[in-house]
């Protein structure tokens, strides 16, 4: 009797579309109706959000929200499969919405063209059953986690770097949260960002799809969710490993005596550099920087200085500034003796982040005249030599 009533809630179109779900006893009409009534908020329509949203839409999750404020760029297309070449220059939200509706017109897509913040996170999250965290920065990761804990919403978490991905489900009632795993973020600069490190295009396809799998399972209440388990995927070695996660009773957000009971300033939480980092910290001191025009002037004047490129060899192959010597940032602590101490050293990378760390390190090793090239080779390409390709 119940089943007859439930069946009435799926239209003929829906029965046809979801038939491969309906004939599986683990999903069936009941599960499909749960998906139809279910909702997921994707934080980010990038590498992880793209495959996740596509599969959630295809599976018939009734309401999908997406938070993003970015515009589709050519360099996104290598992995952000929700967007197409003709979408370059469009907002990611508009592009994603078109694609998802093209895939499944029977569901509702909500778009939020905004940066997730402590002011809007709780309101944005409230209407959704599951939050799918696919962001690229620590402040948003901690914000998403804390908002999920405060609202009691599960967080289908995924993160990627180069060839390696991580996934878990955080902030369920009795499960651990992201802060149980990592109470504090790394200080800025100590961990390379995705833009610096690169990412294998298919990697977010795997991790984002795992996140979508967990979201769908949570909505239907089937299977064993990735709660208290940290999945690590190494695409290069094609290995999955699983580590145990425990809920930390002393966790500042989800522990027995939480100290974080409202959303905080996450930029500050993640951006405060520790008082005295031993090595490899970035400095913002203007006297330690030069811009690309000054570098060009030095080159034209044939000044006696050493131009150090701390990018990776594969980046060096894409393009270089003439006369530079390559020592990747990671090799600088072993190889800095190759750099002359009696000459001025100008350090550059892609955008200036890694080179600032290398410059700070060299100063600690007793180099007296070290300058960081502001804006890196990208700025060089913009302002001095456009024949150097931007990547």
């Amino acid at each position: 009797m119940d089943q007859v009533m439930e069946q009435a809630k799926l239209t003929n179109d829906e029965v046809q579309r979801y038939s491969r779900h309906l004939i599986m006893p683990e999903v069936g009409v009941e599960g499909q109706l749960k998906l139809k009534a279910g909702s997921v908020l994707c934080i980010g329509a990038g590498g992880l959000g793209s495959p996740a949203a596509l599969y959630l839409a295809a599976a018939g999750v009734g309401r999908i929200g997406i938070v993003d404020f970015d515009v589709v760029d050519f360099s996104n297309l290598q992995r952000q499969v929700i967007h197409g070449t003709s979408d370059v220059g469009r907002s990611k939200l508009a592009s994603a919405k078109d694609r998802l509706h093209g895939l499944n017109p029977l569901i509702t897509i909500d778009t939020y063209e905004t940066a997730l913040s402590s002011k809007n996170a709780l309101d944005l999250f409230k209407p959704y059953d599951v939050i799918l965290d696919g962001t690229d920065n620590f402040p948003t990761r901690y914000l998403t986690n804390d908002a999920c804990v405060l609202l009691g919403k599960p967080n289908a978490y995924g993160s990627i770097f180069r060839f390696e991905g991580q996934a878990s489900v955080f902030a369920t009632k009795n499960g651990p949260c992201y802060r149980c795993l990592y109470p504090e973020p790394p200080p800025p600069g100590l961990v390379p960002s995705c833009a610096e490190g690169g990412v294998l295009g298919v990697l977010p396809g795997v991790i984002g799809t795992i996140q979508a799998t967990e979201a769908v399972k949570l909505i239907m209440g089937i299977g064993e969710p990735l709660i208290g388990r940290f999945l690590i995927y190494d695409a290069l070695r094609m290995k999955f490993r699983e580590l145990k996660l425990k809920k930390d009773p002393d966790c500042p957000v989800c522990g027995t005596h939480p100290t974080v009971t409202a959303l905080i300033d996450y930029e500050q939480f993640c951006g405060v550099a520790p008082a005295a980092e031993p090595v490899m910290t970035a400095t913002q001191d203007d006297e330690t920087e030069i811009d690309v025009r000054e570098l060009k002037r030095k080159m034209d004047a044939k000044e006696n200085f050493f131009l150090l490129d701390v990018r990776e060899p594969n980046e060096y192959q894409i393009g270089r500034i003439p006369g530079s010597t390559l020592i990747p940032l990671g090799e600088v602590p072993q190889r800095y003796q190759e750099i002359p101490k009696d000459r001025e050293v100008v350090v550059h990378c892609k955008m200036g982040g890694r080179s600032a760390k290398a410059a700070a390190f060299l100063r600690q090793q007793g180099f007296t005249s070290v300058k960081n090239l502001k804006g890196g080779i990208l700025d060089w390409s913009d302002k001095i030599d456009p024949s150097v390709p931007k990547y």
């Binding site: 993160s159 770097f161 991580q166 390379p192 940290f230 145990k244």
Partner: protein, 94 residues
């Protein structure tokens, strides 16, 4: 006795691109000390200026977090695998 320490992708530039390194030691603390003396570039990524393990780097003995064992005093047996798992933020801007 040498144990295998698995090096995560972000830290591989500091181990000559190796994804696993064999190191001697009877406890996690000894293994990590030997690891960072062999690969000095790793040290600031694993330890803070007070010589304490950084809280955004987790160390696992097989599949258990050493914070819930005996931390750096956790004894290591032959065949145990140690994993260093740093927090990684990669994804999309939002």
């Amino acid at each position: 006795m040498a144990n295998k320490i698995l090096i995560p992708t972000p830290l591989r530039p500091f181990t000559g691109k190796q994804d696993a390194v064999e190191v001697d030691g009877g406890t996690i603390g000894e293994l990590l000390a030997n690891l960072t003396s062999k690969y000095a570039g790793l040290k600031p990524h694993l330890y803070n200026e007070q010589g304490k393990l950084r809280s955004f780097v987790n160390v696992y003995l097989n599949d258990e977090d050493i914070r819930y064992l005996e931390k750096e005093k956790t004894a290591v047996k032959p065949g145990d695998t140690i994993s260093i798992i740093p927090s990684v933020a990669g994804g999309a801007r939002a």
